[in-house]
Every structure is written in structure tokens, then in C-alpha cells.
Amino acid sequence: MVKSIIAHPEKCTGCKLCEVACALYHHGEVNPLLAYIQVYRKGVTVDLPLACTQGVDCGENFCMEVCPTGSITRDPSGVVVINKETCIGCRICYQRCPMKVIQMIDGKAYKCDLCGGDPQCVKVCTAGAIEFAEADQEEIKRTKELMKEVV
């Protein structure tokens, strides 16, 4: 199975350094709207970091199937990538992504690309709340349950 950003909400402190590192790495700016990982929070008890699990959480190939221009594909390493040249900004993937991990930025769709295999968010998460690993089914179930509460 492809490795991706796996959330451990039971360890997430809600500090948002993952969002900071992500936006800074990809866009050279700090802005949650430019981050491909988002920390969803509710009350004092829930902190859920969410990034694309490369098709594992949502069920295989979801965004790839809905993209009308075929701009979303899986690259040889297994990472789901968006071709910015052909993306027309129709927002269909953004609206229909069940995990809500696609961001619209300047009229194009963006999502976690695992920073070329060295995810920056994981590097700054001292709490171990996000991990670059293979997901297991139990975790996926739990994340989806939590999502109902906060996303």
C-alpha cells in the first residue's frame, strides 16, 4: 500500500505547525488556505489533522474518476497528483472529495503531494500526530467517524 500522511488525532495538540510548514514549503507563505493539511478542531477535545491519504481513506481513485479533464492521475510512486497545466479549476474534485483535503488556490486544485517523498509537516510534528506511513483500516474508520463531528 502507498505511504501517506496518516492522522493520529489522539495525539494532535492543535498547534497547527503542520499547516505552517506545508504552506511555507509549497507557496513560500504562511496561510492556512495554502496548506494541503488542515487541523479541524472542536471544543477542547477534538483535534483532527487531515491530508490526502492518496486514495486510501476515500476509497481508491475518487478524485481521479470525477475529474472531467483527466488532470488527476497516480504517478509511478503511487502518489495522486494534479496536473496544473490541464486543471481547469472546475472545483468538482474540491466539492466532492469525501475527505475535504483538496484546496482551490488561484483557480486551480491542489492537494498533498508528500513533498516529493519527504513530508515537511511530519518533520515539525513533535507530538507524532501525523505520520508518513501506510494506513490501517481501524484508523481510517476512526478518522471518518471524527470527520462527521468536525468537518
Binding site: E10, K11, C12, T13, G14, C15, K16, L17, V20, A21, A23, L24, Y25, H27, G28, E29, V30, N31, P32, L33, L34, Y40, K42, G43, V44, T45, D47, Q120, K123, V124, C125, T126, A127, V150
Partner: protein, 612 residues
């Protein structure tokens, strides 16, 4: 041009009209005051020209993100609310790790200033350059946490960050706090200033980018410092046990954990309020301030029993004293509940525990009677009485109305000799350091601009361990040569307040390490001496504001209990601060600051610092 990472804009809100205006930050401010607490100080310095009544339309509320908020600097997420305090009448800045500081920067502002008084309960919504004034009548009376959730619901935005007061702020409890995202701007009663202004809440959603000068370098530094923090010796204990980590040491090794209204320095019944007992049992994960990679917050959850369902980000060291030892409470579950009640009702835990400790001693001495307490047996070690009294204070019911005034005013009103055991400096109830056995910290309490405070000098760590930064061989039982120590530590700490860096990182960053962070993020280069100069400038300005507020050298004094009752038992047995030592330390401090003997600031000093 403002430095990188700063917007150069301030938002001025007038609640009376209501109206708002976006103003440019004068460019020289960045050089002289950096931002954050520096800007708040400058704004109050310019606005408080003569005495301002804390509860008045004229008293400004300034909200400032720390310089490093929304920039990739780990533990740089602290922000502040600054105003004239209804508890002390002085300049008062209260810090929190709420993400609202970063959100304000994302909305495009380096500072918010709120003046005037709304006609009816109001909450203010800021979405970048758009500001709305909304009716908060339906929210009036709600707890802090409910208010925040309700506003997010009404505004249809779960990512919005809200700061709000609770019933205590509405009723002008003089130590009411502002809560935001389960973190508090606790000290100084600034929640009452909001209440007076009919300001129930402030909701912010920003969508603008904050751009470091050199994004690549800034990211590298973020990763490096994150790793450094994780590897620091403090990481394990801070994250595992929180700020109360050294509670047992403070009792057993130092005997300086104030207990039962500062009658004792060791809390014998401490076993279950020690985080080494409760963290493994009740803490289910860490909670962090915005941007913190060394999270000391403990998510404390009670799953069964009378307090079932209690969940809070706590319990902090100061609260373990205030709602624990100071009121003789050994029951950690009741303590957690009391802490949560204070957060929800919107009251500073330190002052709440301080004033209740005073009331308990008054009751035990027969100065307060059952008639006064409404039948509540207000004895030390009675958690039910503690919880009842917290509610009564927040709603100003019965005796709560007197206690809501803070310990200084309450003792003045009650009289009957109760000032003898009223423990405060400038009206503010002190935090958990028994300064009878930490004399330099005693001076810190005396001269802190916001009344008794551990954070403005932060000298407790240096005094208790004997060394920190440029100081070593410090003797906590001695009152000699404490002037320069406190002066330099205050200037040091003012830098942290301004940059918005957590003071628990002070041993990791120190000051010289900010140069590279300031270069990469702001594009300015400042070394230790230059930063200390900013700190010194700000501390002098805060003093001038306090002098305008009518503070004199007489207010730079310790409470009678500290000067008359030696610590009765433990490692600090017999220690207290004499009148002579108090006088010596005060003079020594004024000299170190270059102030006159009466504690006033000579004009030349202000000129030398470029203030005037």
C-alpha cells in the same frame, strides 16, 4: 515599508459610534518597539496621558499578536491584551497562546485597538478589512466556551477564532479574564474592561498570507528549532506532566509553595494535586498553544463520579496552587472542576484562589460569619465551599459581590483587621512562589508593572536554582544585589512578550538566537544588547504610564504577611522579608533602572532611550 511578516496596519475600533478605521503603523515603531507588546505599550503611552479610569469608555483595549505569530517560529504563538487594569489601576498586559493572535495577522493587522463603549451587548466580527458590529444580547449571560461555539455557528465558520468574556466579565468582576479557544488572557481583570464596554466577544477570520523575508531559510529554521525543542531536557517532563511538573520539588526541596493563604510554604496534602499523580490518570493527551512544538497543556478528563464529563486544558501550576494549596484543597477532581468553572465563567484562577483563600482565613478567624457566607462553611480544605464561592463571585451573589472586588478592596471594605492577611501587590493576588524564601522574586512582585506577577521578571527559576543566563551564585535567601538582577530579567522577559515567544522556551532560545530568526522572518538583524534595549525602553514606558495612573514608590511594596510571618516549616523555615530588606531591594532596583529615589523616571532616561 514595514518589515517582512508584518502588515504595517492597525485596526482602530470605536464601539461608541460604532465605527472602525484602518491606520498605518508609523515606520519607526518597528525599530523602536518591534511589534506585539511593544506596540501595545506605545499605544497606551500615547493614549494614557493622564489618569484613566479602568472602567470607562476612555480606557483602550489593545490586542496584539506577538511579532512571531503566524510565522514559522516554534513556540512563537503568544499574543496579548493590554489595557488599564480594574484590579490594579496600572498598565496591564495579559498573555495567551490562543490562535487569535495568528488569526489577527492573517486578517492583515499588527495591532487592534478598541475604544469607546457599545450601547448594548455587542460582538465584533473581523474578516480581513471587513468589520461588523453585531448584537450580543442573546449571548449575554453565556459562558465563554458556549459563546465561542455559538458565534462560530451563527457566522457559519468553524475556523473562526473567537475570544470572549463570561458572566464574570459582564458583572465587572475585577479579575475577570478573556477566554479564547480554551486558553485565557487571565491576569489583571481585562475581562471586566470588555464587560464595561459591552464587548462580549471578538471573532476573527483572516485569509491573508504572512510572508517571511526568506521563506526557505525560515522553513529550515523551523525544522531545526522544532528538533532542538524536542531534544531539549525539558521536553519530556513538560509534555508529560505540564507546568506543574516541579510542584513536588517546590514543596520538598524548596518549601516555597504558598499554602492556606500564605500561612505555610509546604502543602502537606499535595499528593494528589501533583501531576506525577494525576497526569497518568486523567490526562489523555497534550494540548498546545498556537505554533507550539513543546506542548505542556494537558487534556484533563474526568470519566466518572460527581465531576464526570469535566474536560479542560489544564491544570496549570499556578492553578494547582490557587485552587489547590492556597485554599487547602487536596482533591484534584474538585480542583479540575473549579478550574473549568473559572474558565467558563471567565475569571482568573490565580486571583480567584487568592481572594477565596483570604475569605477562608477570615472565616476561620470569625471575621466573616455564616451570615456573611450565606451558610457556606468557608473553611480551608472544603472543595464544595470552593466551588460554590466561585459561582457566587462570578454572579456577584451575597459574599461573592465583596470577593469580586479582589482581595485589596475586599479587605478595605470588610476591615476588622483583615488587611493583615490580604496578600496582594498593587491589588493583584500573587502567583505560586512563596517569596519569603525567594527574596529576589519578592522584588519581582514589588516592582512588576501589573502588580504581583511571576512572568514580568520570571526570576523565580534563577533564584530557585541559583543560575540562569548571565547570573550565577544567586542566593534566594539574600536581599543583596537584587536590583540589577530583576532589572535585567524584566528587560529580557519584555523581549519575549514582544516577540510572542513562550517563556518556557527562554532557556532554549535565550536572546542571541533570535538574530537568525529575525533575519529570516522579518529581514531585520538584532542582537542580544539591541533586544534588551527594546525591553528596557518598554519597561520605562510602562513605568511612566503607571506614574500617570498615580502609582508611587509606596505601591512597590510587599503585603504585610510576607514581612511579618516567617515560613513556619520546611526547607525555607524561618525565612521572610524584613521591612529593611524590602527598602534595600527597592532602592537597589531604582538605582539599577536609573530612576530617582522616589521611583519616578527622570526625563534624561526617557531621552536616552529615545522615548521622548
Amino acid at each position: 515599508m514595514p518589515p517582512a511578516g508584518m502588515s504595517g496596519k492597525m485596526l482602530w475600533i470605536d464601539l461608541s459610534k460604532p465605527s472602525y478605521e484602518i491606520r498605518d503603523v508609523p515606520e519607526e515603531w518597528y525599530e523602536k518597539y518591534l511589534g506585539g507588546n511593544g506596540f501595545a505599550t506605545k499605544i497606551l503611552f500615547d493614549m494614557v496621558k493622564e489618569r484613566v479610569e479602568p472602567l470607562s469608555a476612555e480606557n483602550p483595549v489593545v490586542i496584539t499578536p506577538g511579532v512571531f505569530n503566524a510565522l514559522p517560529v516554534p513556540t512563537g504563538g503568544k499574543c496579548q491584551i493590554t489595557s488599564v487594569s480594574p484590579l490594579t489601576g496600572t498598565f496591564s498586559d495579559s498573555t495567551s497562546g490562543s490562535p487569535i493572535g495568528a488569526e489577527i495577522k492573517h486578517a492583515g493587522y499588527d495591532a487592534l485597538v478598541i475604544v469607546g463603549k457599545a450601547e448594548r451587548p455587542t460582538y465584533v466580527v473581523i474578516r480581513n478589512e471587513k468589520v461588523e458590529f453585531k448584537d450580543a444580547t442573546p449571548l449575554w449571560g453565556m459562558t465563554t466556551h458556549d459563546t465561542q461555539e455559538e458565534i462560530k455557528r451563527i457566522e457559519g465558520d468553524r475556523r473562526m477564532i473567537v475570544a470572549s468574556i463570561g458572566p464574570a466579565g459582564e458583572r465587572l468582576v475585577r479579575f475577570a479574564c478573556v477566554d479564547s479557544d480554551h486558553r485565557q488572557f487571565g491576569r489583571g481583570g481585562l475581562g471586566a474592561v470588555w464587560g464595561y464596554k459591552n464587548l462580549k466577544a471578538l471573532a476573527v477570520r483572516g485569509t491573508l498570507s504572512v510572508r517571511p523575508k526568506d521563506p526557505r531559510r525560515a522553513l529550515e529554521l523551523l525544522k531545526r528549532w522544532t528538533e532542538t525543542m524536542k531534544e531539549s531536557p525539558a521536553y519530556r517532563d513538560d509534555t508529560k506532566y505540564g507546568t506543574g511538573e516541579f510542584l513536588e520539588w517546590m514543596n520538598r526541596e524548596r518549601g516555597t509553595f504558598p499554602t492556606r493563604n500564605w500561612r505555610e510554604g509546604v502543602f502537606k496534602e499535595r499528593e494528589k494535586i501533583d501531576p506525577y499523580y494525576w497526569a497518568p490518570r486523567y490526562s489523555i493527551k497534550n494540548k498546545a498553544c498556537y505554533g507550539c512544538c513543546k506542548p505542556c497543556g494537558q487534556l484533563f478528563v474526568i470519566r466518572e463520579g460527581p465531576y464526570k464529563g469535566t474536560a479542560l486544558d489544564g491544570i496549570e501550576y499556578e492553578t494547582l496552587f490557587a485552587l489547590g494549596s492556597n485554599v487547602g484543597n487536596p482533591d484534584v477532581e474538585a480542583l479540575a472542576k473549579a478550574n473549568l468553572l473559572c474558565d467558563q465563567l471567565g475569571m482568573d484562577t490565580i486571583s480567584t484562589g487568592g481572594v477565596i483563600g483570604w475569605a477562608m482565613e477570615s472565616y476561620e478567624r470569625g471575621v466573616l460569619t455564616d451570615e456573611d457566607t450565606g451558610g457556606v462553611p468557608l473553611t480551608f480544605g472544603n472543595p464544595e465551599a470552593l466551588l460554590k464561592m466561585i459561582e457566587k463571585i462570578a454572579h456577584r451573589e451575597g459574599l461573592g459581590d465583596l470577593l469580586a472586588e479582589g482581595v485589596k478592596r475586599a479587605a478595605e471594605k470588610l476591615n476588622k483587621g483583615s488587611e493583615e492577611w490580604a496578600v496582594h501587590v498593587k491589588g493583584q493576588e500573587p502567583p505560586a512562589y512563596d517569596v519569603r524564601g525567594i527574596k529576589g522574586m519578592g522584588l519581582g512582585f514589588m516592582v512588576s508593572h501589573r502588580g504581583a506577577c511571576h512572568l514580568k521578571s520570571g526570576v523565580y527559576a534563577l533564584e530557585l536554582t541559583g543560575k540562569f543566563w548571565r547570573f550565577e551564585g544567586v542566593d534566594r535567601f539574600s536581599a543583596k544585589n537584587k536590583g540589577r538582577e530583576i532589572k535585567e530579567m524584566e528587560d529580557f522577559m519584555a523581549v519575549y512578550d514582544t516577540l510572542g515567544v513562550c517563556k518556557f522556551s527562554r532557556g532554549i532560545y535565550l536572546l542571541q538566537n533570535y538574530r537568525e530568526l529575525l533575519e529570516a522572518n522579518l529581514g531585520i538583524s538584532l542582537g542580544e544588547e539591541e533586544l534588551l534595549r527594546v525591553g528596557e525602553r518598554l519597561n520605562n514606558m510602562k513605568r511612566v504610564i503607571n506614574l500617570r495612573q498615580g502609582i508611587t514608590w509606596k505601591d512597590d511594596s510587599l503585603p504585610r504577611r510576607i514581612k511579618t510571618l516567617p515560613i513556619p516549616e520546611g526547607p525555607s523555615k524561618g525565612s521572610y522579608i524584613t521591612e529593611e530588606e524590602e527598602e534595600e531591594m527597592r532602592r537597589d532596583y531604582y538605582r539599577a533602572r536609573g530612576w530617582r529615589e522616589d521611583g519616578t523616571v527622570p526625563e534624561e532616561k526617557l531621552k536616552e532611550l529615545g522615548v521622548i
